[in-house]
Amino acid sequence: MSVKITVNGKPMEVEPGLTIEGLLTLLNVKREYTAVAVNREVTRKTDYGTVRLSEGDKVEIVRPMGGG
């Protein structure tokens, strides 16, 4: 059984019970200057280890990019 989620607009299947921390490690995303929102709510860095992803969750992982 896997859990279907969306990460930055792309569908993904992950292990049940995967945390944000686990997802960031899986995707090899640097933590520095990165932020995460799940279903439109910003997740605090201190909660990365405890927030578990559920079926249908929409995850946004952002960081600074070039802009004006």
Binding site: V29, E60, I61, V62, P64, M65, G66, G68
Partner: protein, 259 residues
């Protein structure tokens, strides 16, 4: 000449030129342009990381030296802009935000209703809000009252390079608010930046004028000099404009050439 600092939410800055990080030909050029501009504040956008994530723009910005100013470009509602600011803060980008709530895709003019709402909410939440607004003195005052740390009226549409299209409104905005006034958007070349500063603006924010120039690093230096020159000219107090000539040389003591 002695000059005061640009103060934003209690933080003091010596440079009055704020620059961006978008549209540079290369990251190396961007880094050199930031140096040449003598900027202390640098705007960044907040976007999805690429998966897999490649190099970061912050590999080219010394975050100990520069203050990052995340923007909410691309947000069309107060809600989107507010959430973006929270994301930026959680990402560790600080409390200073360049607030944009866009109202129209073609002109990128601000939606001032959404802007006012977002300014009010974010200021309450402890953000140092720098709203990108239109050149409307009434709205500038409302943004100040809502807790904005400064107001940033556009000189002309974003990326247009048309310069300061309505200097008279900018002048009225300067008389209408006590917070710093920073012209954001529309600057095309050095004289545009100088004009903004000569009007009495506290700073200028630009991206495309530098990043899009054929030689971005030289344009960055030109902008630095223009902002400084405009500021000095403003502080020095220019002469009044007159329709007719006033002789610079004395009228007395002219030799008599009549025969």
């Amino acid at each position: 000449m002695y000059d005061t600092s640009l103060v934003l939410g209690g933080k003091e800055f010596t440079s009055r030129l704020i620059v961006g990080t978008g549209k540079y030909a290369s990251m190396e050029t961007m880094r050199e342009a930031h140096e040449a501009a003598g900027a202390e504040i640098i705007t960044v956008a907040v976007r999805r990381v690429g998966l897999p994530s490649g190099e970061s723009i912050l590999d080219y910005i010394d975050t100990k030296r520069y203050t990052l100013l995340p923007n909410t470009a691309g947000c069309y509602t107060a809600d989107e802009a507010i959430r973006t600011c929270y994301l930026a803060r959680e990402a560790g980008l600080g409390d200073l935000v360049k607030l944009e709530v866009i109202g129209d895709q073609r002109t990128l003019f601000p939606d001032v209703m959404g802007l006012l709402e977002a300014t009010s909410t974010l200021a309450r939440e402890g953000f140092i809000v720098m709203p990108y607004t239109n050149d409307d003195p009434v709205m500038a005052r409302k943004l100040q009252d809502a807790g904005a740390a400064c107001v940033m009226p556009l000189g002309a549409p974003i990326g247009s390079g048309l310069g300061i299209r309505n200097p008279y409104n900018i002048k009225i905005i300067l008389e209408s608010v006590t917070v710093p006034v920073i012209v954001d958007a529309g600057v095309g070349t050095a004289s545009d930046a100088a004009i903004a500063m000569e009007l009495g603006c506290d700073g200028v924010l630009m991206n495309t004028a530098i990043a899009g120039a054929q030689d971005a690093v030289s344009m960055a230096r030109a902008m630095k000099l223009a902002v400084e020159a405009g500021r000095l000219a403003y502080k020095a107090g220019r002469i009044g404009k007159k329709l007719y000539a006033t002789a610079s040389s004395p009228l007395e003591g002219l030799p008599d050439w009549t025969s």
